[in-house]
């Protein structure tokens, strides 16, 4: 190869690299523009919370921010009450889901039953319960809750939240447990670990990311759950999504206050969701894609 050829080759390579860089900048700009545009309604909601009511009437992005609206919103007893209701439902249902769901997922993955097919059957059974929309059992719930006094109670709602989210936890944790090799559990068994110790010492450390993201996902789902909360609770025990749905009827047409309360109601779920985004895909798709 002559030196002239090498020179030309290097030139061509440089040109190619430059073209690639230009293309990357183009893609980057397009991606950013799209991202901001897509997120804009939420972004604008965050901004409007810092406006006064008069400023909030007109769609503007630049204004002098104030904290008055947030102060006003937090002074409202309804919001803080519903915030605490939401916090109660989220912590209790996540806790209970983990307490019941992790051992169940473990058993489905590693447990030994009289019939070897039981593991598969249990797994499928939990999966089919995910199909059931809560609205399909509204009628019996309504009758039962009205006759037993569970209507309009925190406990009544919590029981359902755990029941409806347990299958999701079991599904996610189970799909993360498929990565844990059988040999590890058998080794632990031979070393004399009880099932509880196997969960505590082997499964929890190995599948902690999966368990963590299942936790977060349930927390987000419960925090955002609307239908059951709306149908089965009233002011004293209702959660934030119900508060937000009734905001304009109960508090009036105040855009700035609406945005500030929305910010309060949205931010926790948004942060939890962002924390778990990477593991979410794995947990949700593995079970289904690989069937």
């Amino acid at each position: 190869m002559t030196s002239g050829n090498t020179q030309a080759f290097k030139e061509a390579q440089k040109a190619l690299r430059r073209r690639r860089a230009a293309k990357n900048v183009g893609i980057g700009v397009a991606a950013y523009a799209f991202g901001i545009l897509y997120f804009f309604p939420i972004l604008y909601m965050f901004l409007t919370g810092f406006k006064t009511e008069i400023q909030a009437v007109h769609p503007r992005i630049f204004f002098t921010p104030t904290l008055d609206t947030f102060k006003k919103v937090f002074a409202d007893r309804g919001l803080s009450l519903n915030l605490s209701n939401s916090a109660f439902q989220v912590t209790m249902s996540t806790l209970l889901c983990m307490l019941l769901g992790v051992p169940a997922a473990f058993t489905i993955r590693f447990g030994k039953f009289k019939k070897a097919s039981t593991n598969r059957t249990l797994h499928n059974w939990f999966l089919t319960t995910i199909l059931l929309p809560p609205v399909a059992i509204l009628m019996p719930l309504f009758l039962f809750y009205n006759s037993t006094g569970l209507m309009h109670t925190r406990f009544g709602l919590l029981v359902l939240y755990v029941g409806f989210h347990l299958p999701i936890v079991i599904w996610m944790v189970h799909s993360f447990l498929t990565d844990v090799p059988n040999e590890l559990i058998e080794a632990a068994e031979i070393d004399g670990c009880s099932r509880i110790q196997q969960i505590g010492y082997v499964v929890l450390p190995l599948a902690r990311m999966g368990i963590f993201s299942a936790c977060m996902l349930v927390a987000v789902f419960v925090w955002n759950e609307f239908f059951l909360a709306f149908s089965l609770t009233t002011n004293q025990v209702q959660t934030l999504p119900v508060y937000m749905s009734r905001f304009r009827e109960q508090q009036g047409q105040f855009t700035a206050q609406l945005s500030a309360s929305s910010t309060v109601s949205v931010l926790p779920a948004l942060i939890l969701g962002w924390l778990t985004q990477k593991n979410l895909v794995k947990g949700l798709t593995m079970g289904a894609v690989k069937g």
Binding site: F106, P140, F142, R195, F230, L284, T285, V289
Partner: protein, 306 residues
């Protein structure tokens, strides 16, 4: 220690106890009590003639008349249009989410500085509660006098259209897509990133252009992920209720009712137990049928690949 080891073979073999089931039992009972038993109750209720507003009429066994009432009786004029609307809404939303999600996933499937920030931003709407996103869109964007949509229309010299009352299903589908596309994006992006570099490289060397690479190589290879996304999306979207309530309230008339909204309406306004239960059972049957079809497709593809 030694003694027991020596004695062990002499002992009669102890029957193996299966104690693992106790670990799953609490979860099974809890889920059965909160979902399966109420659903079986719903099936039973759907055969009764029971009006909560008129307790004097009592409760009678009514065979399948509640179903017939909606198929051919006087309820048919509500049921069939609502079934059609639900189907249209779900089909448009799922198609929109899939196509849009695929192209956005292609855009975000580049190794660029800060692409994760963009992904995080796009993911945002998925984690926002549907009642809030509905109200925020309605008040700050779609408002006919003071929303961004009106502002844009005015600067472009156009007359803003009142979408919420003229195209209720359209606007709900649009908001559903806005909320659920990120979920599809996540799954499809996961699929794209699982593709092997070698295949794409060899396509590139063989001179396949962008369109061919995307449609003939990438798309077939991530079909499984797409079908999974559609299946999960369907399961979650059937439950959606809050967004419809805060944007259109099912109106105008019943033009944006879905099956879920319809059940809610029967339970809380006309309070006919049997009829609400009948629609519930039908909904569940339809959902599980469509999910089963999708699952079959996924399994068949898996078998073809392996």
């Amino acid at each position: 220690m030694q003694k027991t080891a020596a004695a062990a073979p002499a002992l009669p073999r102890r029957k193996k106890r299966y104690t693992d089931k106790y670990f799953a039992l609490p979860a099974i009972i809890w889920v059965a009590v909160t979902t399966q038993i109420p659903f079986l109750t719903t099936v039973v209720l759907s055969t009764l003639k029971w009006n909560l507003v008129r307790p004097d009429q009592g409760i009678q066994f009514d065979w399948f008349n509640n179903y017939l009432y909606y198929f051919t009786g006087s309820g048919a004029k509500d049921f069939w249009p609502i079934l059609g609307q639900t189907f249209a809404l779900l089909a448009v939303t799922l198609a929109g989410c899939t196509v849009f999600g695929f192209f956005v996933a292609l855009l975000l499937d580049h190794r660029l500085a800060g692409i994760n920030v963009v992904r995080t931003l796009v993911l945002g709407p998925f984690f926002v509660m549907s009642t809030t996103s509905g109200v925020i869109w309605k008040v700050t964007i779609l408002n006919m006098d003071f929303g961004w949509y009106a502002l844009i229309c005015k600067t472009l010299g156009l007359q803003p259209v009142d979408f919420i009352s003229h195209h209720p299903i359209g606007i709900i589908a649009f908001l559903f897509v806005w909320q659920w596309m990120p979920f599809f994006l996540l799954i499809i992006l996961g699929g794209l990133q699982s593709l092997s570099e070698e295949v794409l490289e060899s396509a590139h060397i063989d001179g396949a252009n962008w369109w061919v690479t995307t449609m003939r190589i990438k798309l077939p290879m991530i079909m499984n992920y797409m079908q999974t996304a559609i299946m999960l999306g369907l399961i979650f979207l059937v439950k959606e209720f809050g967004l419809i309530l805060v944007t259109t309230k099912g109106g105008p008339g019943k033009s944006s009712y879905t099956l879920a909204y319809f059940i809610y309406d029967i339970v809380f306004t006309s309070k006919r137990v049997g009829r609400a239960a009948a629609i519930s059972v039908l909904t569940v049957i339809l959902v599980s049928l469509s999910v089963n079809i999708l699952l079959k497709l996924i399994h068949r593809r898996n078998e073809m690949l392996t």
